[in-house]
């Protein structure tokens, strides 16, 4: 059975968008979760991520991420309540416990734990949607010009791990088919067999890569000494304008990597996701400056519901509809 987080090719906008656009959009939602502590904003970011996943057809991924995220959140709440004694409102006194010392369960520690847990859950949903909706091959292809070897390694892992998982399933099936009287297959034996199989396959892959010329060193470039590098060698010829041009070049390069590395794979949905991601990021930063993050757990819980908080939360929820497919002109005319 496939993992709920595995990528499923679909024709939706999020799946069709270039990886840069999808990362910009989902990354903005996850960034909000790390930037804010207000439960309202965090919940809105979570709703947006879940809505994006559902709209993009990744319901299983969203469900599984919510289940895992909320379990993790519960664990964080319990651990935070046990290890943090701070806060004004003592609910339960557990006295002096070994290793933990004096333990007072406070309402503030529970609230602080819930916020951290909620943040973790939102991040998990965001990554689950990314995993289920963004084609890993396209991500690796986009990364190839920047880090070719890393992209190759990641590509091999992304191929070989599912193969190893399929091997494990086949071995288990084979073991069951021996009948009920047969001795059960232990985990150690299964891992041993899988490791041996993986090593065999790795040797085969290495040999194939070698045959395809991956081991041949790259053609030597012109001697660096003959070039005039932008740093070090031409110290005497530096100009006061150098920094300005280096900085501009760096910004352009970063923008090119983020937005245009996969120029050939651009989609008509890219603009929508880049725009939504940018709006979310700008609104989040503006909201932070306008005091939209009015939440303090200690010494007493204070939750500020400023207009900026409400507006930002609504905007976040709406941003979850970005992957929605527009009804076509033909349908509208029909």
């Amino acid at each position: 059975m496939r993992s709920p987080f595995a990528y499923v090719p679909r024709s939706g906008p999020l799946q069709s968008a270039s990886p840069g656009a999808a990362v910009a959009y989902l990354g903005a939602l996850v960034a909000v979760a790390f930037l804010y502590s207000s439960p309202l904003v965090l919940a809105a970011a979570g709703v947006a991520a879940a809505l994006a996943g559902r709209t993009a057809g990744a319901r299983r991924a969203v469900r599984a991420a919510l289940r895992m995220g909320l379990s993790l959140a519960m664990l964080i709440v319990v651990v935070n309540a046990l290890v943090v004694n701070r806060g004004e409102t003592v609910l339960v006194r557990l006295g002096d416990l070994p290793l933990l010392g004096r333990v007072d369960i406070t309402a503030e520690a529970l609230a602080a734990g819930a916020v951290i847990g909620l943040r973790a859950a939102v991040a998990m949903v965001g990554f689950a949607v990314y995993s289920a909706c963004v084609d890993p091959d396209r991500v690796l292809r986009a990364l190839r010009p920047i880090a070719g070897r890393s992209a190759l390694t990641a590509a091999l892992i992304s191929r070989l791990v599912p193969v190893a998982a399929a091997d494990a399933a086949r071995l288990r099936d084979a073991s069951r088919l021996r009948g009920p009287a047969a001795a059960p297959l232990g985990r150690a034996a299964l891992v041993r067999r899988l490791t041996a199989g993986s090593l065999d396959r790795a040797v085969d892959v290495a040999a194939t890569l070698e045959l395809r010329g991956y081991s041949i060193p790259a053609r030597p470039r012109r001697s660096l000494a003959r070039l005039s590098p932008p740093w070090g060698a031409d110290t005497l010829n530096r100009s006061r304008y150098d920094r300005r041009f280096y900085a501009t070049g760096a910004v352009v390069a970063i923008a090119a990597v983020a937005g245009g590395a996969d120029t050939l794979n651009r989609s008509r949905y890219d603009r929508r996701f880049y725009a939504t991601g940018a709006v979310v990021a700008i609104a989040a930063v503006a909201g932070k400056l306008l005091g939209a993050d009015g939440f303090h757990a200690y010494p007493t819980v204070a939750l500020g519901l400023e207009p900026a908080t409400v507006v930002l939360s609504l905007l976040l929820v709406l941003s979850g509809l970005a992957p929605r497919r527009r009804s076509s002109t033909r349908n509208r005319n029909a």
Partner: protein, 310 residues
């Protein structure tokens, strides 16, 4: 059936263990009354009216502070960032921050982790810490720490008389009246009270830190040798000499090295100075002062505010 019985037994044992450990719902039983003082600039100005309130067994310094004044905290509620809007900052290039003392001693743990007992005296002060990052003990909580101890335990008091027996007798009397349990010098864990002229007190390793300045001793005063005799010198908040006292000046101050019991210094440049210092040991004179100097029946709180001394 057997499983449910085991579960019931385990639950009963867990409840018994928790009950033994002192668990319960809510803030818990009352443990008495504590007092809270909030000042700035080494106790010279009160920022809130001194408060006294009943506390429960789960109360901490932070909880009492939060109930009485408006605070902002940081680092997950562990650090007090501001009290009544006054936050740690730099003023005229000097660092200012909030420091708290319980029973006259700088706390080794944070306010959120300091449990309280009845009788504890909490004192928050907003001060310049450029000259001394650590003022480890002060005298303004009298009769604490002699009456109720410190850091959760009561401690006996040992008066070490290094001259001026009349002053020593007076100090012992004041301590007894304050509720201290007197013990012989050298008793382990006892709060030490050194009484005598500075020429003899300076041989004590802890008292000698006074000559190394406020950074070492936390006391904004020094004895300097002038013409074969020691003269008391008051320092300002920046640790600079601000006033030179006469030959009969006395000093009451407290210091502490690491985790050792606190050491009180009742001293003076001369025998008359020691006697004058011994006469200051009461709440009326010491209340809300870090240290106190006296000369010709005039008391001078230490440190001396800048521009006042000369």
């Amino acid at each position: 059936m057997r499983r449910s019985r085991s579960l019931a037994v385990a639950s009963a044992l867990l409840c018994a263990a928790l009950a033994t450990a002192g668990c319960g719902l809510g803030a818990g039983d009352g443990v008495g009354e504590v007092s809270l003082t909030v000042t700035r600039d080494f106790g010279t100005e009160h920022l809130a009216a001194p408060a006294a309130e009943a506390v429960s067994e789960s109360d901490t310094v932070m909880r009492v502070l939060d109930r009485n004044v408006a605070i902002e905290s940081s680092y997950g509620g562990a650090f007090v960032q501001s009290i009544d809007g006054l936050r740690g900052d730099r003023h005229d290039g000097r660092p200012y921050d909030w420091f708290f003392y319980v029973n006259g001693l700088w706390s080794p743990v944070g306010a959120a982790d300091y449990p309280l007992r009845g009788g504890d005296r909490i004192w928050w002060d907003y001060r310049d810490w450029s000259a001394s990052t650590r003022v480890s003990a002060l005298v303004g909580a009298w009769p604490q720490p002699f009456a109720d101890g410190y850091e959760g335990d009561r401690h006996p008091t040992a008066v070490e008389c290094l001259g001026e027996s009349a002053a020593c007798a007076r100090v012992e009397g004041r301590l007894r009246d304050a509720g201290a349990t007197l013990t012989a010098p050298g008793t382990e864990g006892a709060i030490r009270v050194l009484v005598g002229p500075w020429g003899r007190l300076r041989k004590d390793a802890t008292a000698a830190a006074l000559e190394d300045g406020p950074e070492a001793s936390g006391i904004y005063a020094e004895f300097v040798r002038i013409g074969g005799a020691y003269r008391l010198q008051g320092l300002d908040e920046g640790g600079e000499p601000a006033r030179e006292f006469g030959p009969d000046a006395g000093l009451v101050a407290a210091t502490r090295r690491y985790g050792a019991p606190p050491v009180w210094i009742v001293s003076g440049s001369s025998a008359a100075g020691v006697r004058a210092a011994a006469g200051l040991l009461d709440a009326e004179h010491l209340r809300d002062h870090f240290a106190l100097a006296t000369e010709a029946a005039e008391e001078t709180p230490l440190p001396i505010p800048e521009g006042v001394g000369r």
